[in-house]
Symmetry: C2
Subunit: 427 residues, 2 copies
């Protein structure tokens, strides 16, 4: 049972990581934790959910106070979710009322008055609903979102922490692999295909366009989920690239669809691998090239490598990830509820940005896709405007410390908080 | 026609890159070029083959003398083959006599007395044959190999330039992706599969073992081409990992075969993608996991990304790549023919190595595989001895310069040498 507290005793806070992790979500965690530690007058203990919101539902809380300041500092250079993340979507309050009530029950038991939810569109929706239900149940919780997604598909914010680093990884890898293909093409591989993430938004694919300095450089073709895949037009462009440049580098988003709205990633691989996951657009594109043109090809699927690649993170991204974590705590202390810090671009050259507060409702469940004017007329490249938008987001290197040739990433203690409730909750 | 030269005029040299390129083959090129420039008394001009040996056969030579010393210095941090490489195997002298004679014809026309061939097993065989045929035709050419292969499968040398960097890339990527899966496993992906290169040798796959600090850490399973794939044993190990660690990271070599000697990479994907190339072992393993255990999985195929990843090159590897290039020139000047520089390990801790000369014949066409005592008894991991061998090879970082968030790689002028022969040669 929670002890009764004097009015001046600060309430505790809860932080959870949600959805697919990134190279810098732990930098946001560091921002939240260090800011809480600075503001002990206003925020008592900071608990983290073991595996995100699942940790809250199951009352499996982590006491971040047991971690040294060195460990928290090291979070800034450690990829993935240090407390565990979760793919666990709470539906509408009416459909999932028991879960929302359980959250409030756990929050109440641990005197949690602040909820920091570090995630994408879905998570912002959840945070918004928790703030509503808390008020409804007479247990107000200040809910503040911390934006995160490699897909860069949140509206309002100029960009999303997590995206800049995957963008840098993809641009660097495309530049490197393109040099490789170029040097082999005379007698061997003519077409190289790299599949990248992004779901329904082509931001990550677009970032590959930074690999080249001009329209003649690789990548010669970017396949965006926003542009319907046209087999004949695609093959004509591949042929033209091979005949003029000697080779062709294709970057394909996992979310590319054909005219029937069917994912390419499903087309060739559905029988073998089931329909549940994307992934496999690259081998499908390879098959199309092989069948249509007969060129020798190679393909790569970066998958988790791209979003975990802290070793080549964008310094800008790391700074922004930390800043949104810190700002979230500052908003909460000021009593701002149901908001999230967003990144506002003041200028592109030189790049200047600041953090502002936005209503969480405006961000929840909205997807920001790549606008048409960021894609060249033929649908296969990025425009100068897109380049201007993307360039500052990958700027700067922020290497982790290395030991014996490998990056030293921190492993937290993740000490559990003693349970206070007698009830269990199955997720 | 070549002018007649005074006896004191030094003969020219020819350098060619061969086979799959690496993150550091250009560092070897820099070693060769800078050493030639230092020894102008002994070596006249240094030509490079445009696309390797194909450039020699077609008399498409590049004058490396047109490149600035800054550009050559930048080769040290530029991946891929700056002059173009080739997958072009010369067979036995009897079968391919016309090609060998053509090589000598071109060498003669350009007064080339030194041949530096930067490649793997096949290329060392070619270099050896060129040295024989030159002598036979009364046009002696000093042939010196420069070892290169990401597969690390050359005998005699302790390791091969190119391997250390791909090993580092794979170890770093495995460590990063493992953290990602670990943080998602509670509600999402349980099994992550990374496919790596290496052909018939499991050295690259073995390097993934460095990602973990002990036997409980990821990767939980390494599938070596040296060990026959056993579906049931594999599935039992996956199940055990998921049940004990919560997740399972599998690193699979592209060259893994089943008990019938059939590549896994062929098994699941042959209908869709043809039989011509390896690649696709990861999705096949994913299918096996899905069918056998039903776990949610993700898979990645690093393909060219791994061998082009100069941004995370091993400093040790870069130094060794440069050193073998430099040593090759020094051997040639001393008149050592049909040799190659090899790396000799003097001690592992601290790591000390030196370059020695070895007969090229001893290296040609021999594959060095991972010895059984480097693989754990269950066939799924690396032993302490293997770790001791691998660790120093990935040591040290050697970042390329970055500009606007991207590595600055050099693009050479690659100015052609005026043709002297009237005859063409079709390759």
């Amino acid at each position: 049972m929670p002890k009764s507290k004097s009015p001046k005793t600060p309430r505790n806070a809860f932080y959870a990581q949600s959805g697919g992790v990134t190279a810098v979500i732990n930098a946001s965690a560091a921002g939240v934790i260090e800011a809480c530690r600075k503001h002990k007058k206003h925020i008592g203990k900071l608990y983290a959910g073991r595996h995100g919101i699942v940790g809250a539902l199951t009352e499996d809380l982590i006491d971040t106070g047991k971690e040294s300041s060195e460990a928290i500092k090291a979070l800034r250079h450690t990829p993935s979710g240090a407390f565990g993340s979760a793919r666990y979507k709470l539906k509408g309050i009416d459909q999932d009322r028991a879960k929302y009530e359980r959250l409030i029950e756990v929050f109440k038991a641990h005197d949690i008055g602040y909820f920091f939810y570090n995630g994408g569109n879905d998570s912002m929706d959840t945070a918004h609903k928790v703030s509503k239900i808390g008020a409804e149940l007479g247990y107000p919780v200040v809910c503040v979102g911390v934006p995160k997604t490699v897909d860069n598909d949140l509206p309002i914010t100029d960009c999303c922490p997590g995206f800049g680093s995957v963008a840098k990884y993809v641009a660097v890898s495309t530049r490197e692999a393109a040099l490789d293909v170029a040097s082999m093409a005379r007698t061997s591989t003519k077409v190289f295909i790299l599949e990248v993430m992004g779901r329904h938004a082509g931001w990550i694919a677009a970032a590959a366009g930074l690999a080249g300095k001009g329209p003649k450089d690789a990548p010669h073709i970017i396949l965006f989920p926003e542009i319907t895949f046209d087999r004949e037009k695609f093959l004509a462009k591949v042929k033209n690239s091979v005949e003029t440049a000697g080779y062709c580098v294709v970057v394909v988003s996992e979310g590319v669809k054909d005219a029937n709205g069917k994912f390419l990633a499903d087309a060739g691989t559905q029988d073998a691998f089931g329909h549940t996951q994307l992934g496999g657009a690259a081998p499908e594109i390879a098959r199309i090239v092989k069948e249509g043109l007969g060129y020798k090809y190679h393909w790569a699927v970066a998958d988790y490598l791209q979003r975990a690649a802290r070793h080549i993170a964008s310094k800008t991204d790391v700074e922004q990830a930390y800043a949104v974590g810190k700002a979230a705590v500052e908003y909460a202390i000021k009593g701002q509820n149901a908001v999230l810090p967003v990144i506002v671009r003041k200028s592109s050259k030189p790049y200047r940005w600041e953090i502002r507060s936005a209503p969480i409702e405006a961000v929840a469940n909205v997807e920001k896709k790549v606008p048409r004017h960021y894609v060249t007329a033929d649908g296969f490249g990025i425009t100068a405007a897109c380049r201007r938008y993307l360039e500052p987001l990958i700027a700067g290197e922020d290497y982790p410390p290395f030991k014996n040739g490998l990056p030293e990433y921190v492993k937290l203690k993740n000490a559990p908080v003693r349970r206070k409730l007698k009830t269990n909750f199955k997720v």
